[in-house]
Symmetry: C2
């Protein structure tokens, strides 16, 4: 029997996407909650390069980086596919995931935690990126890799931008994305796995108040 452990924290979209993938595949796993202010020696041993969660440990072998873990889960376990089957569609999924994590989502996230000119610049960058996603997300069907990564915009970021007093992702500007968000967040499987809105709000509020955490 295979042994699966996931090192993570409750309020991380990067950890949560891995949990959703494991649950989608029906993989049983032990969740090991990490205190990022006081990282365990096991975390440091499993991910000496980045010292970050999530880390998936499968039969004693550690894997870091959420997108690398998602591909691994799809390759190792049976069940609903996380990546599309067709090579071109797989390439497109990988392209959008990279775009969200490295560009658009990162800019949106950083806009919320910055001020002045930097905030304005990041806001514009995020909006420019979302315009591409707005076109891409049209007519998507099955939940998979891109959704698990865009999940950040569907749930976490909507709370965050409100607390930060920003209007980046609005129904008015991005009707397709808004439609996707509604469908995604009302999917029974997804709904069960989104972090509680009130608790997440409280966690973000604390982070804003202390200027700490992220």
């Amino acid at each position: 029997m295979s042994e699966v452990k996931l090192f993570g924290t409750l309020f991380s979209p990067f950890v949560r996407r891995v949990e959703m993938a494991l649950k989608l595949k029906g993989v049983e796993y032990e969740f090991i909650e990490e205190d990022l202010k006081n990282k365990s020696s096991l975390l440091l041993q499993h991910n000496p390069v980045h010292k970050k969660v999530p880390i998936l440990v499968h039969n004693g072998k550690p894997i870091a980086e959420s997108t690398v873990i998602l591909e691994y889960i799809d390759e190792v376990w049976e069940g609903p596919s996380i990546l599309p089957k067709d090579p071109y569609n797989r390439a497109m999924a990988r392209f959008w995931v990279k775009f969200i994590d490295d560009k658009c989502g990162l800019a949106a996230w950083r806009a919320c935690w910055s001020v002045g000119e930097e905030r304005e610049k990041l806001k514009e960058e995020a909006i420019d990126g979302l315009k591409f996603l707005e076109e891409e997300i049209k007519g998507k069907n099955n939940v998979g890799l891109v959704d698990f990564v865009a999940d950040f915009f569907a749930h976490w970021f909507l709370i965050l931008q409100e607390l930060a007093g920003l209007e980046i992702l609005t129904q008015d500007k991005f009707p397709n994305l808004w439609k996707w968000i509604n469908e995604y967040c009302n999917d029974n499987f997804i709904k069960e796995n989104l972090p509680d809105k009130d608790k997440l709000t409280a966690s973000f509020k604390k982070a804003f108040a202390t200027g700490n955490l992220y």
Copy 2:
């Protein structure tokens, strides 16, 4: 018969890694040289998000982002594997590729084009990253994904750091990496596909002199 086009520039490690993968698989392709100061309308049409090369166009369908293209090539064409077959080894390869492109290689590259305190900081970051690669690269065998990406350090960066007057990747500090570089650059297939050292040096020199190009 499939039609394969690669939009690129001669002196880009990101383009060159895609060419090496195509050649390893024995795929015939048309190389379309782009002038990055005056990008073609086809380039902008095929990669509106990043407006960058490489772009692989396979039977009319474009794919951008070199690492996404490498995975696509491995999935679509027969021939020697670019990624390892075992899922854990595949995950490790993807992890190191991400680390080189997003962290270690990026820091090393930027160190060469920066000055003062920023240069020192990036130099330290690059050296810290290379220490992890130094351990990882030990005992590697077949040429594949990680080599095509680490190729930047084997060839391009050694020229660049000399021109920049930096000592980051030295035999003294990184004996394993040095051994890997020697073996890699003396592999017959690789040797044929590395850009000419003199021409590359001239290109970098021009970039340093004009403060342009990168």
